[in-house]
C-alpha cells in the first residue's frame, strides 16, 4: 500500500464502475463490509473496544479522571474526545501535530456522542461547580483501510457501554486498583451510529476502502440515534471539493434509517 494520491486512471476506472453500480471489491454501492468487535482490549481502561470494518481497525478506550467543570456547565461532567492518527496505521499518517483529518475525526465522534445525550453527564458530578468526572474517549486507528470515522464512532459507543466507574478513596482520589462495580451512567436505549457517504461523479457510496475514500470527491457524515422512538440526526458535516445535490441528500435521508437498523442489528449484543 502506497501513500500516492489516486491516479487519473484509477479515478476514471472507479467513476465508470460506480456508474454501473459496482465496486472493485464486488460490493454494491451502499453495501457495508463486515463489522467485528472485540471487547476490553486494554484492562487499564475503564472501558474499551476494538472495531474492525473490513481491514480497517480502530481501538477506543475510555478513561475517567477527576476535573473541574466548565464554567458554563457546573452541574455536568466533562467529555473530551481525542484521537491520534498513528503513523503505525497507514503510510499516509505522519508524526507531529495533527493535520486537519486528525482534528476532524475526534470532533465528529464527539458530536455524535455528545449531541445524542447518550452519556448522562449530569450524573457525573462529585461536587457541584467544584469537582466532576471527566470522560476521556481516546481513539487510535491501528489499520486504516477507509471509513475511520464510522469505525471510531462504533468503537466509542461500545467502549462507553462497557465502561465501569472507578472507586474513590477516603481522600476523594481515584483508586484505579480497586475493583469497579458501578456502571457508567448512560441514557437507556440511546446508541448513536455515524454514517459517512462518499461521492464520486454522480455516484454515492458507503463504507469506502482507503483507495475509494481517496478517490472520492466529497463526503458527508451523519451521526444518527434513536430518540423517543424516532430516528434523529445529531450531527452532520460535509467535506470535500464538490457539492451534494438535493436529490442525493434525499437518497441519503431514505437510506439512513435502513442502515441504522442494519448496523444496530450487528452490534446489538454489544450495546
Amino acid at each position: 500500500m502506497s501513500s500516492m494520491p489516486s491516479s487519473n486512471l484509477t479515478i476514471e476506472a472507479m467513476k465508470k464502475i460506480f456508474a454501473e453500480g459496482k465496486r472493485f471489491d464486488g460490493r454494491k454501492l451502499t453495501e457495508l463490509r463486515d463489522i467485528s468487535i472485540t471487547l476490553d482490549i486494554s484492562n487499564k481502561a475503564e472501558g474499551s473496544a476494538g472495531v474492525k470494518i473490513g481491514k480497517t481497525e480502530v481501538l477506543v478506550g475510555v478513561k475517567l479522571g477527576i476535573g473541574t467543570p466548565y464554567p458554563d456547565s457546573p452541574d455536568k461532567g466533562n467529555l473530551t474526545v481525542s484521537g491520534d492518527l498513528l503513523p503505525l496505521a497507514s503510510p499516509r499518517f505522519e508524526m507531529g501535530p495533527p493535520d486537519f483529518w486528525g482534528i476532524e475525526l475526534p470532533r465528529l465522534v464527539d458530536r455524535a456522542v455528545r449531541e445524542s445525550h447518550m452519556i448522562e453527564l449530569d450524573k457525573l458530578v462529585i461536587e457541584e461547580g467544584e469537582k466532576v468526572w471527566t470522560v476521556y474517549i481516546d481513539i487510535y486507528p491501528i489499520n486504516d483501510d477507509g471509513n475511520l470515522i464510522d469505525a471510531a464512532t462504533i468503537g466509542a459507543i461500545i467502549a462507553l457501554k462497557n465502561t465501569m466507574m472507578p472507586e474513590l478513596d477516603k481522600d476523594g482520589k481515584i483508586d484505579y486498583e480497586k475493583k469497579a462495580t458501578k456502571k457508567f451512567p448512560l441514557s437507556k436505549g440511546i446508541s448513536p451510529i455515524s454514517f459517512s457517504f462518499f461521492k464520486l461523479g454522480n455516484s454515492v457510496i458507503m463504507d469506502p476502502t482507503r483507495e475509494e475514500e481517496e478517490t472520492c470527491e466529497a463526503r458527508v457524515t451523519f451521526g444518527l440515534s434513536n430518540w423517543k422512538d424516532q430516528y434523529m440526526i445529531n450531527s452532520c458535516q460535509k467535506s470535500g471539493n464538490t457539492p451534494f445535490t438535493k436529490e442525493e441528500i434525499g437518497q441519503i435521508m431514505d437510506l439512513l434509517p435502513k442502515k441504522f437498523e442494519e448496523v444496530n442489528e450487528k452490534l446489538k449484543k454489544f450495546l
Binding site: 470535500g240 438535493k246 436529490e247 435521508m253
Partner: protein, 234 residues
C-alpha cells in the same frame, strides 16, 4: 405548521435577520467585503492569486484556495483566546470546501488565493455570514467564479423550523432543544457545498430544511448581486 411560532425579535419563521453588506472594507486587499445578519458581523479579505510559498505546496495544475476563519477575541461574551482553535480550524476548512466549487482555480497554476475571514461581533450564524462575506470578497477581487455562494443557517426549535437563528434562539433547551443546520449552496442550483449541524433533526425533515434554505439563499443572492452592482456604479 398550523400556528406561527413566536420569535424573540418578532420575525416570521422563514425570515432572516436584516442583512447588510459593504464592499471594499479592507483597502489593502485585492477584494474584501463585510456581511452581516443582524448582530453578527463578518469581514472577509482576499489576497491573490499570488505565488504560493513554500514552493513544494504549489500545484502546477491549479491554484489553491486557502481559508482562515476566526473570531476576534472580544466578539463573544467569554473572551476568546486569540489564535486558532480546533473549532476555528474546522470552520476554516468547511468554509474552504463551501467556496471551492465555484472558484476557477485552474486559471491560476502554482498560486494561492488567501481568504481571511474574521468575526467582529457574534450572535450565531458566524460561519454562514463569513461565507457570504467571502463570496462577495472573491467577486470583488475579480477572481473568475462560476457563480456566487450563498449561506444561511436553518434551525429547529423543539419542532418548529426557523431561519437564521440568533444566539438566544440557539440556546433554547425545551422539548427537542435547538438545532442549527448551517447550509451553503451554489446560487440558483440544487447543489449544497456546506452541510453542518449538531443537535436533533429527523431525517425526513431535512428536505423541508433545504427548501427553507433555498428560499433564504435566493434572497441572499439578490442582495449580494445588488451590493456588488452598487459598489461599481459609485
Amino acid at each position: 405548521m398550523a400556528k406561527e411560532h413566536k420569535r424573540p425579535d418578532g420575525r416570521k419563521n422563514s425570515e432572516m435577520r436584516p442583512m447588510s453588506a459593504k464592499i471594499g472594507v479592507v483597502p489593502n486587499a485585492d477584494g474584501s467585503a463585510m456581511f452581516s445578519f443582524g448582530n453578527t458581523i463578518a469581514i472577509a479579505a482576499v489576497y491573490g492569486p499570488r505565488q504560493l510559498h513554500p514552493q513544494h505546496m504549489q500545484d502546477p495544475a491549479r491554484g489553491i484556495l486557502r481559508v482562515n476563519y476566526d473570531l476576534l477575541s472580544f466578539s463573544v461574551s467569554d473572551r476568546k483566546k486569540p489564535g486558532p482553535s480546533r473549532r476555528s480550524q474546522e470552520i476554516s476548512k468547511v468554509t474552504e470546501w463551501a467556496l471551492l466549487p465555484v472558484v476557477e482555480l485552474k486559471e491560476f497554476p502554482n498560486t494561492v488565493i488567501d481568504v481571511q475571514i474574521y468575526i467582529i461581533q457574534a450572535d450565531a450564524g458566524t460561519r454562514t455570514a463569513g461565507i457570504n462575506a467571502a463570496s462577495l470578497a472573491l467577486a470583488h477581487a475579480g477572481i473568475p467564479m462560476k457563480n456566487l455562494i450563498c449561506s444561511v443557517a436553518v434551525g429547529k426549535q423543539d419542532k418548529e423550523l426557523i431561519v437564521d437563528l440568533t444566539k438566544e434562539e440557539e440556546d433554547f433547551e425545551e422539548g427537542e432543544g435547538a438545532t442549527d443546520f448551517a447550509i451553503a449552496k451554489i446560487a440558483n442550483t440544487n447543489e449544497y457545498t456546506l452541510l453542518q449541524l449538531d443537535g436533533k433533526i429527523q431525517p425526513e425533515v431535512v428536505k423541508e430544511i433545504l427548501n427553507l434554505a433555498d428560499k433564504a439563499c435566493d434572497e441572499i443572492y439578490e442582495f449580494q448581486k445588488k451590493t456588488l452592482k452598487e459598489s461599481i456604479s459609485k
